[in-house]
Amino acid sequence: MPGRSTLFSADEVNPKITLGNTPANSEHSDHRKQVYKIIEGVTKTSFSPLISQPKFFTFSDQSEDEKIILVVRQHWYVNLRWVSTAVLMALAPLLLNFLPVFDFVPIKYQPVGLFFWYLLIFAIAFEGFLNWWFNVFIVTEERVVDIDFVNLMNSKVSDAQLDKIQDVSYEVKGMAATFLNFGTLIIQTAGEIPELEIHNAPNPDMVAKVLQTLRLEEQQEALEGRLK
């Protein structure tokens, strides 16, 4: 498939397992250091589509000792649709001043109609923003959590343990996606939810690398635990 890259398949896994003295749950394991190196330079600001180790961000079923490594929202580009719609709709009444299409509406209804119109624009913009804001993909040191705000009535939360991840791939399709570096991240798991798809993820190769490195860390921990 053009544009689709499978970065790390299960066959390619080479965890470079270090046995012996390496502490299983060490916060500064080689893999973890590698993860921090990968996400070095990623902002901690809330309004960014990619946030590393956020200070003021938690999610509902996060355990107390579960540390968030990365929060991924959709690329800013996806907001262009509702922004442009809102701008065009806001400009429409100015255009209608020149066109007598609403002259049949009684004069006393026109201000209320305008108020209704601008309220509708606000609703479109607010909904667009909420859709972006609450659609988050969270990578913690134990699992990945995908929170989807589908529309006003539907939301979906799915998660998968890092050691259940089997394959991480991503695809970048289209001119805008290639130019701005965003794409769909596909995570296949051995868990209850076989596949997680994160659409319009910014910097998908970096996120995939982070996931793979964390998965290797989990594997190493599991193996050391088993040997002990």
Partner: protein, 71 residues
């Protein structure tokens, strides 16, 4: 009671506006509820602002209903 054409047109517009405003008010209430639910799932420092905006939006929707009723 005699209704002329202008009155009938006014009534039609009023019914249309009131109905639209009520539907919008219901929509704004759902937005408030949804924001409340989502802010319990994703906790961020800006959630209070989003909740406030959704309530302000509901208030404006209520004002819209009132203004259409008294036209």
């Amino acid at each position: 009671m005699n209704l002329n054409n202008v009155d009938i047109l006014n009534l039609i517009f009023k019914a249309f506006f009131v109905f639209g405003a009520i539907i919008y008010f219901i929509f704004a209430s759902i937005v408030v509820r949804q924001v409340q639910l989502m802010t319990t799932k994703v906790l961020d420092m800006y959630n209070t602002i989003l909740i406030t905006i959704s309530w302000l939006h509901l208030l404006l929707a209520f004002l819209l209903v009132v203004s259409t009723l008294f036209l």
